[in-house]
């Protein structure tokens, strides 16, 4: 009985010790975080569109190989999130696969931030179907009718007598937003859209479903998918680099970086690097269309 009492006291001391250690650890990590906070001078935070993310990542890796004093951290989140973070000052550069909205500019100015636009590359949206699908070209009008639900069978656009499985991205995707603006306009999307959360999920479903149609960033086209040509007044355009840059291909868009007018020196240098010959070479290597 007495022995057990002693044991309890020992245990209590032990747990007291462990609580002290825990408290010390928390303190140390807090101090550590404080030190990290002070280092932000050399730290450039880039966040936003997931369509630009892979490009920004390889650009920053190459940049940091040359300028090892600068640390560039790149994260996704979506165009809207990136711009929202620029507005509240939690990043240095926002990536957006669309132009900044007027409301966002107003919000930014209210916060003392004046967004400056840098178009670093161009990008096309490829419309894709299963390789066994006989349909080769579509007009923008047909594409719109497929996604509004007016056209529901492949035979209506010269294909097999099969129902169309229309695949879209979630509303938070920059590609989806661009597609909606460029193809749909004011026309409502059909309710029975198969909605996927990532480009990979779209390609996976199109690869395994002969009735499917989807759209992805042109950089993600591959041999297991068939890219549909877009028919503009009788001339068919494929999402090739040339057609995207000239914007003859109807679904072409710019990829943007936004900074405050009063930008951190390191961030400005990084943007200049992107526009350099070397930076634009990486843009091409990553499957986007260079602008210079």
């Amino acid at each position: 009985m007495k022995k057990q009492g002693l044991q309890n006291i020992k245990n209590a001391n032990k747990s007291f010790a462990s609580v002290t250690i825990l408290a010390a650890l928390i303190l140390i990590s807090l101090i550590g975080a404080g030190c990290l906070g002070q280092e932000t001078d050399n730290n450039v935070v880039v966040s936003g569109s997931t369509s630009i993310l892979p490009l920004a990542q390889s650009l920053s890796e190459k940049y940091m190989e040359i300028h090892n004093e600068t640390v560039i951290s790149v994260k996704g989140g979506g165009s809207g999130t990136g711009i929202a973070e620029l507005i509240d000052g939690s990043n240095d550069i926002a990536m957006a696969s669309r132009k900044i909205k007027d409301t966002e500019v107003t919000n930014a100015q209210a916060n003392g931030i004046n967004p400056v636009e840098h178009m670093i590359a161009k990008d096309g949206i490829a419309v894709i179907v299963h390789p066994a699908n006989p349909v080769k070209n579509l007009t923008l009008e047909q594409l719109q009718k497929i996604y509004s639900g007016e056209i529901r069978n492949w035979s209506e656009v010269g294909g097999n007598d099969e129902e169309i499985a229309a695949i879209a991205r979630d509303s938070s995707s920059g590609t989806q937003e661009f597609f909606t603006e460029a193809v749909m306009g004011d026309v409502e999307l059909r309710s029975d859209l198969i909605t996927q959360s990532a480009t990979g999920a779209v390609t996976q479903e199109v690869m395994q479903n002969q009735k499917a149609i989807g759209f992805i960033n042109a950089a993600y086209q591959n041999a297991n998918l068939k890219t549909i040509g877009l028919d503009v007044n009788g001339t068919v355009f494929m999402p090739t680099e040339e057609n995207v840059l000239s914007e003859k291909y109807p679904l072409s868009r710019g990829l943007y970086l936004y900074t405050d007018a009063n930008v951190k020196e390191q961030a400005d240098e990084f943007i200049q690097y992107i526009f350099s010959t070397e930076g634009q070479k990486i843009v091409r290597e990553m499957g986007y269309t260079a602008v210079q």
């Binding site: 989140g77 509303s171 995707s173 749909m184 198969i194 909605t195 996927q196 959360s197």
Partner: protein, 296 residues
């Protein structure tokens, strides 16, 4: 001196535990408050009737329709399907582990069931997407294999460990005297299981089922990957149509939604609906469990 120190330790520890206990409740209260505040913001601009009875969920600028019904239908259909699949399998394996399996078999089966609970949902989702989806599409000749049924199967796999381990506990805790009485009256093993053991453990098994439902209703990632996320109410073929659950909608649309917009508040509002559903389910499970303990 030593006594004082001991007293101090005692008090400090008590205080730390108190902070820990209160902290959890505080977090819960904060989340409730936050959800309610954002819901109120949504209902200020969007009529509650349109939200509750709306049959279309179209958050894009052109449409701005936030109808709850298709999402609620998606959540109910996938969860109901999961229960239909998981409950019989779960109860059968619980009975097997508790009553029929030899000690060695049970020793392998129990950790195996727990291991099933450890598979990350994204892995199950991927398995569903590349294996179940194309199989169902060709088997039922569908427009797409991403259906409520595939979602239900994945959810059933995820709910099984909960259902099995909780019902196995309930079955094991049926007093041996009840079973011995049944044997003494001349019943065989099978008769004892379904006339005595299962009825005696029924409230525990019901609690297991309800907890499994709770597990299924809140799952996001795997469901989002395999159900096609079509925001429609599938009247004609509920299980072979694509559906969209509440959780998937939040996960899909949260990323890009501009803060402070109607869409942003709408996502919090459906989050509050989901929270309410979970509270109700947990409440039922608690009530059933209490009944179970009184029964003992």
């Amino acid at each position: 001196m030593k006594r004082n120190m001991r007293n101090f330790n005692e008090k400090t520890m008590k205080f730390l535990f108190f902070i820990g206990g209160i902290g959890t409740i505080l977090i819960l209260l904060l989340i409730c408050f936050f959800l309610l505040a954002e819901t109120a913001n949504f209902l200020k601009t969007y009529p509650i009737w349109d939200f509750l009875t709306g049959t279309e969920w179209k958050p894009d600028e052109a449409s701005r329709k936030f109808g709850l019904l298709p999402l609620l239908a998606g959540t109910f259909i996938t969860t109901f399907g999961a229960v239909l699949l998981a409950v019989p399998i779960g109860i059968l394996s619980a009975v097997y582990i508790a009553e029929l399996a030899g000690p060695k078999t049970a020793e392998i089966l129990k950790p195996a069931v727990e291991l099933l609970a450890g598979i990350p949902s994204v892995v199950l989702g991927f398995f569903g997407l590349v294996l179940l989806v194309p199989t169902f599409q060709s088997a039922f000749d569908l427009t797409t294999g991403q259906t409520a049924l595939t979602g239900s199967i994945i959810l059933a796999i995820m709910a099984l460990p909960t259902i099995i381990s909780v019902s196995e506990d309930a079955i094991s805790s049926v007093p041996a005297s009840l079973k011995q009485g049944s044997f003494a009256l001349g019943s065989n093993h099978w008769q004892t299981i379904y006339k005595v053991t299962i009825p005696a453990a029924l409230s525990g098994i019901s609690a297991a089922v309800i907890l499994g439902v709770g597990r299924a209703i809140g799952e996001t990632m795997a469901v989002m990957m395999v159900t096609g996320n079509m925001a429609i109410i599938p009247w004609s073929e509920p299980f072979l149509s694509s559906v969209r659950t509440i959780t998937a909608t939040i996960a899909l649309e949260m990323g890009e939604v501009a803060q402070g917009t109607e869409h942003y508040y709408a996502l919090f509002t459906i989050g509050a609906v989901l929270f309410l559903l979970t509270i109700i389910i947990n409440g039922i499970a608690d009530a059933v469990k209490r009944k179970h303990h009184r029964g003992e």
